[in-house]
Symmetry: C2
């Protein structure tokens, strides 16, 4: 097309695509570019604003490292990550929620009832539940990849003072489908706000806080993997999670348990004669469609 105009450029783009292109790629690129062009037309995007957008992407590039995933964070705070999660959640399964940028593969084994708290300070939390199918049957041999922040609000990957895998564990369920571990109560924390994503949050009058949570990836042969989180029902940021991760069925009561009631089968490096917290959270997985 020799005379491209603001009104025909989207069709010109579509016309440039080749006949042998993968049909799904064509569908996705057509929709992506149509929405991108409609956005520019709808707001009459200026050169200055376009440059600000490019500068944002270049700013993300400048801080991106193996341990700092600014593009993922941008997707998280704009709600795209959560939206993709929800588009592919099964209504019969536990809701999925954001993976976030801090998951580290290769966590060490954590036996059922194992201790992730070790010598870190903070309230003891006992977390347990059943990994089950949609009929309520326990799933044996499910693996749970579990991670959370340390009491200082930092993940191991953000914190030189922690081991690579502190507050990370990989647990396998037995015949009863039960998982169980001892940890410290997670704290609310802020997503990294010293980069371009933080600038966007400030420009939008938003805070960088997330409600406290434990992360899980649950996998079992024959079932769809589930990435999710569990939140305590008294968290002040439940209604304004900056990455849009809260779902009703992921909000649980963290019960205050009295001294002397520490359950059998849970390891703890400190005293078992103190009050502690307990959360029960079952994870329901759906089978792969056949």
């Amino acid at each position: 097309m020799r005379n491209v105009t603001k009104d025909n450029i989207t069709d010109v783009f579509v016309g440039y695509m080749g006949p042998d292109m993968d049909p799904r790629m064509k569908e996705v690129m057509t929709s992506l570019v149509r929405h991108m062009h409609d956005f520019a037309r709808d707001v009459n995007l200026t050169h200055e604003e376009w440059r600000a957008g490019i500068a944002f992407l270049e700013g993300c590039a400048a801080v991106e490292t193996e341990d700092r995933h600014e593009f993922v964070l941008a997707s998280d705070v704009l709600g795209l990550s959560s939206l993709v999660d929800m588009l592919h959640s099964s209504p019969e399964a536990t809701s999925s929620s954001v993976l976030g940028p801090f998951h580290v593969a290769g966590a060490p084994d954590l036996p059922v009832g194992g201790d992730m708290k070790r010598d870190f300070p903070g309230p003891v939390l006992v977390a347990t539940g059943i990994v089950k199918d949609t009929d309520g049957n326990p799933i044996e041999g499910a693996t749970l990849d579990i991670w959370q922040t340390a009491p200082n609000g930092l993940y191991a990957s953000q914190d030189d003072a922690q081991d690579t895998y502190s507050f990370h564990g990989l647990q396998k369920t037995g015949a009863d489908g039960r998982y169980a571990f001892t940890t410290v109560k997670p704290v609310e924390y802020t997503v990294p706000s010293d980069g371009p994503v933080g600038d966007i949050l400030r420009a939008c009058g938003r805070h960088p806080w997330r409600p406290s949570h434990l992360h899980f990836i649950a996998e079992a042969p024959g079932f769809r993997p589930l990435v999710t989180e569990v939140f305590p029902d008294d968290d002040p940021y439940l209604d304004q999670d900056t990455v849009f991760g809260v779902r009703d069925d992921l909000v649980m009561s963290y019960q205050n348990m009295p001294a002397g009631s520490f359950p059998d089968g849970f390891a703890l490096s400190g005293s078992v004669d103190e009050p502690y917290l307990r959360v029960d959270f079952d994870l329901t997985l759906v089978r792969h469609s056949v």
Copy 2:
């Protein structure tokens, strides 16, 4: 919002924005995120496709340097750069066209009639025209920032064999508004296709070619700056410029001029007794609105 869903997340995003936010920022971010979410919903974007998008951005980040602007290139081949140009073109002015990722600020002065070709091989091209206002009056003291590829199809910033500013010049018009210089006929060239943007082009069954062109940024006190290009009317890529830069009024005939007719007032380091090419291209600027 405690129970974010795929249907309410866009409104939740809008609800998170603070009351003191800049109104234009709010308008742009609302439209951007609404289109981004609609895109994901329209195509039912999968996690795998989301990861491919993140990997694309991270791949751009990995090749981005001071001289390699992959995010700008992505905007160019998706038509966004040209669309923004066209949204802000004045119908009375010469059409604007893409700046592209290769402009380098600080070009050396090029006197009227000066020689950019120097000792490079290739067909001699004489380029000239009047910088004028919308009433046809010449503009004195307009500056033209001129750049193009060398005969090998590379810009100076892409080519270690060239000086920083080879085929770059800054020219100021006199009372007659005339610009004039000697150069080499530009060649068709490919945008850089060895990075993530090249992968997108290939996946879309597209080529990376641009028709040959000279770039101009024209500026004059009291007038809106104009970023544009001029194309020869016999170029094979006029109808499929991979960055959507061609407009009817930017396509000019490059006239074949006989030996012995080389015009006065044009410098040339080689023989002036050979045939050469000539393009006449006037640039019309509009005044800043008052």
